[in-house]
Structure formats: structure tokens, C-alpha cells
């Protein structure tokens, strides 16, 4: 009895430090990248001030922060067009890729006919493709959406085809024994099996669609983050340029996080 008691009393104080150290470990994990980033920003700020770097060559972080405070309307005016182009491009490119992947799965000849073309289009650098698409679609929204869509398209196509093929032969034998129709196999087995593959592609697309939209804006646009990047570069408004760059990477992160959250809710296995 006394042994048991002493054991219990020995165990209780042990449990607390264990919990505390786990908490410390977790906060360490978060503190490390945040601390590193803060230290880098501080170094940058000090470097710019000590060496008296002109503002148009490299603005101090505080200057960039002031842009977010004082020129928010300008930033937001250019944020929304890029946001819409990215989202629409994301949707169009991925939906097209998914539909084509489904066609490939059901028809070998469709795959043979279109896959080389898809590879060819994917090999064209975006910067080379953008002017062509702006010539075709004009300087409006459409060209940017098409560029963003094209950049999303290929990774999703490849992953989705793999995902739809990832069904085990035994699952297909099970379907055959149950006399399942082709559409039942597709909706109940193939499509859900492909979701983990689809989401890894969507995560890539979430960041690349923003790049596509910005490249599209470089070629011909008077609004959008891409246009603001060009405009502030040529006018030596470096603080605005830096703020715009942060905003566009923030947009990518926002889309990436949205897709990740959706993945966690949908792919629970």
C-alpha cells in the first residue's frame, strides 16, 4: 500500500513537467520560424539604416509597413483584379484538367490524341505564352484568366489521371462481383480514390494561379498587382513594389491555406 502510494505521489509531479515541457516544445516550434523572420527583418532594417541605402534601391521594412498603412486603398484597388483572375483561372484550369483526366481514363484514344498536346503546351514558358494569349484575348480579364488556368492545368491533369488509376485491382474485382456499372465504379470507387491526388495538385495550383495572373498583367494591364509591380518599379517607388510583392505572396498563401483546410475536411482517411 505504502509502496503504491509513494509510486502514485512520485508519478503525479512527474506528469506536470512532462506536460510543461511538451507545451514548451510546441511553442519552441512556433517561436523558431517567427523569431528567425523577425531577426531577418530587424537585420534588414538596421542594414538599410546603418549603410544609408537609398530608399529607391532597398526600402526599410518600416517604409514598406508605412505603405500598408497609408496606401491601403491603392493596394486593394489592385489586389481585387488579381484575386478574381487567380480564382477564375484556378477554377477554369482545374475543372478542365479534371474533365480531361476523366476522358483519358475512359478512352485510351482520347489520351493518345490529347496527352502529347498537353505536354507540348506545358513546355512553353509562361512568359512566352502570355503575349500570344493577350494578342488573342485582348488586354481584359479573359487573357489573365486563361494564363492562370493554363498554368494550373498540367499538374492537375497528371495527378488526376494517376488518382483515377490508383484503384486497387481487388477493388475493381469487388465491383465486378457486385455487378457494378461503369458509372457506379466511377462515382463510388474511382472518384473518391483520386481525391488525395487531386488535392496535392490543387495545392500546387493554388500558388501557381497567382503567378499566372501576375505574369498576364505584366504583358498588358492597367490594374492588378502585376501592373502595380511594373508601375512602381519604373517609377522607383520601391516601398510600394515591396508591399505589392508581399501582398501577392499573401494571396498565394491565402489560396493555399483555403485548399489545405478543404483537404483536411474532405480527405479524412
Amino acid at each position: 500500500m505504502s509502496v503504491a502510494q509513494s509510486r502514485a505521489s512520485a508519478a503525479a509531479p512527474e506528469a506536470e513537467p512532462a506536460n510543461a515541457s511538451r507545451w514548451a516544445e510546441r511553442s519552441m516550434k512556433a517561436a523558431l520560424p517567427i523569431g528567425t523572420a523577425a531577426a531577418l527583418i530587424l537585420t534588414w532594417e538596421l542594414g538599410v539604416r546603418i549603410f544609408e541605402v537609398p530608399n529607391y534601391i532597398a526600402p526599410a521594412p518600416s517604409d514598406v509597413a508605412m505603405v500598408f498603412v497609408h496606401q491601403m486603398p491603392l493596394l486593394m484597388r489592385n489586389f481585387w483584379p488579381t484575386f478574381y483572375e487567380s480564382i477564375l483561372g484556378f477554377l477554369a484550369g482545374n475543372i478542365a484538367a479534371i474533365l480531361l483526366a476523366v476522358a483519358f481514363i475512359h478512352s485510351r484514344s482520347a489520351e493518345r490524341a490529347f496527352f502529347p498536346i498537353a505536354v507540348f503546351i506545358n513546355t512553353i514558358p509562361v512568359l512566352a505564352m502570355a503575349p500570344i494569349l493577350v494578342l488573342i484575348f485582348g488586354a481584359g480579364l479573359t487573357a489573365k484568366v486563361v494564363i492562370a488556368a493554363l498554368i494550373c492545368f498540367f499538374p492537375t491533369l497528371v495527378n488526376m489521371v494517376r488518382g483515377l488509376q490508383s484503384v486497387s485491382p481487388q477493388a475493381l474485382e469487388l465491383a465486378r462481383i457486385l455487378s457494378a456499372s461503369k458509372s457506379e465504379v466511377f462515382w463510388k470507387i474511382r472518384l473518391p480514390s483520386s481525391l488525395p491526388f487531386l488535392f496535392s495538385a490543387l495545392k500546387i495550383a493554388a500558388t501557381t494561379c497567382v503567378i499566372g495572373a501576375i505574369v498576364g498583367e505584366w504583358v498588358g494591364a492597367d490594374k492588378g498587382l502585376g501592373a502595380l509591380i511594373l508601375d512602381s518599379t519604373f517609377n522607383f517607388r520601391s516601398a510600394v513594389l515591396y508591399a505589392t510583392v508581399f501582398l501577392s505572396s499573401g494571396l498565394s498563401v491565402l489560396l493555399f491555406v483555403t485548399v489545405s483546410v478543404a483537404e483536411r475536411l474532405i480527405v479524412r482517411w
Binding site: 477493388a171 474485382e173 469487388l174 457486385l178 455487378s179 457494378a180 457506379e184 463510388k188 480527405v267 482517411w269
Partner: protein, 263 residues
Amino acid sequence: MGLAATSAVLPQKAAVLRNASVRFGNFTAIEDLSLEIEDGAFWSILGPSGCGKSTLLRLISDLVPAAGGAVEVLGKSTEAARLAREFAFVFQDPTLLPWRSALKNVELPLEIGKSRNIRPSAGGRTPMELLELVGLKGREDALPHELSGGMRQRVAIARALVCQPKILLMDEPFGALDEITRDHLNLQLLNIWNETGVTVLFVTHSIPEAVFLGQKVLMLKARPGRLKEVVDIDLPFPRTIRDRESPEFIRYAAKLREILEEC
């Protein structure tokens, strides 16, 4: 019409093979195999690898066609039997859909073919009752990755039973499990067989398992797969794990081992 009437009166065979053979290209998996399996029987199928044990189950379940001879399942063609859901298959791998809960996996066969009226008439156990039958009450909402290997295989067995099949085809279903789990599932399977009256064809690599479960053990020899012998196991039911230590059991196991060595 007259034929149908007589076959309803006569004790029907679960499966009949007449000189059946299966070929994959130039490779002969099964040659000239003739069998009659009585309705409600429990047959173990044993033989060296490459003897066509799995192919035999696949032949009966219409997964592979017969290259020659005839195969009848409950007096019908294998295709008609498949469309009528007369048999169900349990693979070595549970083959559960990982995104579906245990209960949803058991319900899968009921969802498939609904619009084409493939599903047999209702009146059997509900998916919930089947999970209870295999001892998984309370785990119905668990996803497959949250279950152990033995539990997953029990979900697969419940799924196989949901359409009230007359024949249960099992291809080394417990081969990947540890011995304690395997013993437990062997007993559970005998219980299910006893309660449902289903015919069981059970492929295994294990001699003790074959003797313990089967009323008969079908022995096949390899290259090409042919009939070696059908051994009657005259051990009374219900059998218990302790029966495996009885002299009769050991004699049967020794006999099967001897035949297996000749294969």
C-alpha cells in the same frame, strides 16, 4: 418449365464443375476439373502455390471465364449467379473503401445495382446487425484505418453477407493475420456458417486451418491445377480450438501433409 420444377425439388448443388479448365494465354491454370459441392457445405481448398486455388474461386465467381467444360452455380451460369448476387467474395486484403466508415462499407453492396434491380429481396440482417454478428458493435462509425487488421477483415465478411449470399467464396481471408486473431475469426466464421446456412469455399495455405474449418478438404495439385483428392473430415461440429489437440485432428493434419507432399 419442367426442368425448373425438378431442380427445385432435387437437393440443389451449390456449384458443379464438369471438366472445367481455365487458361491465361498459354498458361493452363486449371485443367479438367470436375466437382460437385453440396448446398450448405463447408469446403476447405488446399494445395501448393500455383495449383489454381484462387483461380477456382475466380472461375466460380465469374471473374475468369472457363476455357473448356461447364460451370454451374446453383443451377445457373456463373454470370446469372453473379447478377443474382448468389455468391459473395472475401479477399485476402479486406478491400474496404478507406473513405467509408465500417457501416458504410457494409452498405456498399446494397447501394450498387439498386437502379438495375440487381439487389436480392430484403429480409436478411441489416448492416448494423451484421456488424454486431461479427463483433464490431460500437465501431460502426470508425474508418478502416482506425481498425485493426482483424477488425477490417470482419467488416469485409459483414459486407459479404449483406446481400444474403448462398455461397461465400473466401480467398485466404485470414492469411495476413496473427495466429490469435486467426483462431478467433475461424471460430466466428464457423458460427456464421452455422447460423446462416451459407455454403463456404475457403482457400487456405494452412493445413490446421483447412482441417479445423472444413467438412471436406479439396486438395489440388499444381502445374496445371488438377484435382488430387477430396478428403472428408469427420470431426463433429461445433468444433473448438481445443479440438486441434485431439489425436483425430492430428491424424487428419498428418494425412493432408502427406498428400500435399505428393502434389
